[in-house]
């Protein structure tokens, strides 16, 4: 994930409705995943960076989206137990044989 913009949450409080209904904010919001995934051209990245520097709300929003992606990437899931692994194998082969 690109780490182009350093944000310091807590140091800049977002103000409500600060231009977030505006076209530029929506345009930036549409591209934030592509921005995080490093899929945009340098020119577009510059435009987004310029907007973020000027719009604390969008900067906080980007940070929260980045954190969301990181949480998804690191969310573990429980492993399959040895017994379940053996039982499943037996059931699959039994179903395959009787089909």
């Amino acid at each position: 994930m690109a780490d182009r913009v350093r944000t310091y949450p807590g140091t800049r409080k977002p103000t409500p409705h600060q231009g977030h209904g505006k076209r530029n904010c929506v345009k930036v919001l549409e591209r934030l995943s592509a921005y995080l995934d490093d899929e945009l051209s340098g020119v577009v990245c510059e435009e987004i960076r310029a907007h973020l520097g000027d719009c604390p709300n969008c900067e906080v929003f980007l940070d929260s989206l980045r954190q969301t992606v990181q949480l998804c990437r690191h969310r573990p899931s429980p492993p399959l137990s040895k017994d379940d692994r053996a039982n499943l194998r037996r059931q699959i082969l039994k179903a395959a044989a009787t089909a």
Binding site: H17, S33, V60, D63, Q70, L71, R73, P78, T98
Partner: protein, 210 residues
């Protein structure tokens, strides 16, 4: 293909099954069952449904193994079988609303919607996920995603596949995958924000969960 050819003469007696099945299937199962279970658990959100999906996936793989042409990685082939099996199983169960997510619904309109409500500052994602409440909210948010968006989020952000691989698995172009992924991330983000949590609290109160 000879190396992949398997015996289909599997005895009906359970006690003999383990001794007489073909080695290629066993190897396929041994090498991939943990990954497929992880994927299934992430899609289904609970163990029993995940086991059903794993069983369906490997049964279909067993039957189609002779037709596997080897032009994709075997793990990608299994992901595709599991994804299709998941869609079929959900269609059978019915009832799951399959709605489109619009970008407009993710544009914040009040101050509490910009940041995540459980702060992560100074914590790694692993440390943040030690918070049980955060884990539960994240899991619920993923479970609430309409299926076609959840599928993309799980494959891309949780299983770590590329947009191209996910497109191949789901039969969609990369642009469609990226569009669904973005909406899925925005949906989960919103659920983790003040707005999502406030809505969840009110729903919990209404349903007596709190």
């Amino acid at each position: 293909m000879a190396a992949r050819k398997k015996s289909r003469t599997v005895p009906h007696d359970d006690s003999d099954v383990a001794l007489s099945t073909s080695a290629p299937f066993d190897q396929l199962y041994r090498d991939h069952v943990d990954v497929m279970y992880r994927f299934a658990y992430r899609l289904c959100g609970e163990a029993e449904a995940a086991k059903d999906l794993v069983q369906e996936t490997f049964l279909n793989a067993y039957r189609a193994y002779d037709r596997f042409r080897g032009d994709a990685q075997i793990s990608t082939w299994l992901y595709a079988i599991a994804s299709h099996a998941c869609q079929r199983m959900r269609r059978k169960r019915k009832g799951e609303p399959e709605r489109e997510l619009s970008l407009n619904e993710f544009v914040p309109t009040s101050e509490g919607e910009f940041a995540l409500q459980i702060p992560m500052e100074g914590l790694s994602p692993q440390e943040a996920l030690e918070n049980k409440e955060l884990r539960q909210i994240l899991d619920r948010a993923i479970a609430k995603l309409p299926r076609k968006y959840r599928m993309v989020l799980v494959l891309r952000d949780m299983e770590g596949l590329s947009a191209k691989e996910v497109g191949g698995i789901l039969g969609l172009n990369e642009r469609a995958i990226k569009s669904r992924l973005h909406r899925a991330r925005l949906f989960v983000r919103k659920e983790l924000s003040g707005n999502g949590l406030a809505r969840e609290f009110h729903q919990d109160v209404a349903t007596g969960r709190r």
